[in-house]
């Protein structure tokens, strides 16, 4: 079995062993969304106007929640340092891990956002735009929060620190995505902004694994 297949099988088996890793962020997302109408006025016009933005932010936070410890358990078990001895470049393995994480942990989050959209009476065409922006933007977000997780591997209370370090990189993605949603509500052309978002994800997916592998090496070198 090739290393690539072994890596993906391992991710799937880990999910089967710890299903909470997938469901906790989903619960979080649904919880935030169900609190919005309670905290605001239960006015469907208002909700449909801000709903898509709320869902976007809640999905971003849920994504951060399930990515902040991406490498932590492998690092403390000493399995991560074994990756350095496998006959593939570390950046390639990191890329695989990020792809697996996006497929198995982030995609399920995106798939439940239509339910959240119905709860906040988001119009169907905006909901569609929301789904498309999430699918296009989350690879970049996954990469950035993975980098945050890798950079803070060595420190014991790493969770929030990694998010803070990566915050500046999230901002342009969120701004672009918000632009797409506003245009979708106006009914104007969203394609240029989507293309920019896509470019962001492509660049992130290409460069971030290299940065992550450097961060992992740095942290392994400093530990015993």
């Amino acid at each position: 079995m090739s290393l690539e297949r072994r890596m993906l099988t391992r991710e799937l088996k880990l999910i089967a062993a710890r299903p909470g890793d997938i469901f906790k962020p989903m619960w979080f997302l649904m919880l935030v969304i169900s609190m919005v109408p309670l905290a605001l006025a239960p006015d469907s016009d208002l909700l449909s106007e801000i709903g898509s933005a709320m869902i976007w932010v809640a999905t971003l936070l849920a994504l951060l929640l399930n990515t902040e410890h991406l490498f932590q358990s492998d690092f403390s078990d000493g399995v991560l340092e074994q990756w350095l001895f496998l006959d593939r470049p570390l950046a390639w393995l990191v890329g695989l891990k990020l792809i697996a994480h996006w497929l198995f942990h982030v995609l399920p989050l995106i798939l439940i956002t239509p339910i959240a959209g119905i709860m906040l009476s988001v119009p169907t065409d905006v909901l569609l735009a929301l789904l498309v922006t999430l699918v296009i933007a989350t690879p970049a977000l996954t990469c950035f929060s993975g980098l945050g997780a890798a950079l803070t591997l060595g420190s014991s209370r790493s969770g929030i620190l990694g998010v803070l370090v990566m915050m500046p990189l999230f901002v342009p993605v969120v701004i672009l995505a918000a632009g797409v949603l506003i245009r979708a509500m106006d009914g104007s052309d969203t394609l240029p902004l989507l293309a920019l978002l896509g470019a962001f994800s492509v660049v992130a997916a290409t460069l971030v694994p290299i940065a992550v592998s450097a961060a992992i090496r740095l942290n392994i070198g400093g530990s015993n």
Binding site: R6, T9, K13, L14, D74, D77, G78, E81, F85
Partner: protein
Amino acid sequence: MIFEPIDIEISELSCERDDRLLFKNLSMTLSSGQILRVAGPNGAGKTTLLRMIAGLFEIQTGAIRMNQSPLTECLEQILYIGHKPQVTKDLTVLDNLKFLTGSDDDHLKRALGDVGLKGYHDSLVKELSQGQGRRCALARLWCVESPIWILDEPYTALDVEMVKTLDARITAHAAAGGICLFTTHQPPQSLKYTTLELGHVT
């Protein structure tokens, strides 16, 4: 199988960690068939030296070369088992080994039989005792063909029987032309080795 002749040349290696000098101007050559025990009190730099040779810890001064080429080009020749568990608790014994070695099931089951984990293939590592978890990590010595073994505290939590099995395995590895470096505080009885004493830097 017999390994190609191999030598590791350590020259003028010094290490300073957190302003403490762990070792200074360490020079030695390790060649095929050699078993080296790195000894010394706690904090003498045993793990750090092993991690330097395994390429996991940056070399500050000095050099380590393997067959005249830089260490970083020969990492796939090394089997490193550190003192961390080296296995994922939420996966089964077999899945852990399958990921790290890529060997087929029959091969792995035979290796697990060798380390006394027969019948534990599908147990989760977290269900095993500490010694059994260690056996699972060490099972890689029976199914990977790397000439250089770097074992940090391999004897921890092992029972008398397993210590003997491991000694026999290391002896066989050296007889096949492999190199083994290890650390331990309990000198193994049934193993012939040379000792490198660390911790005499003042």
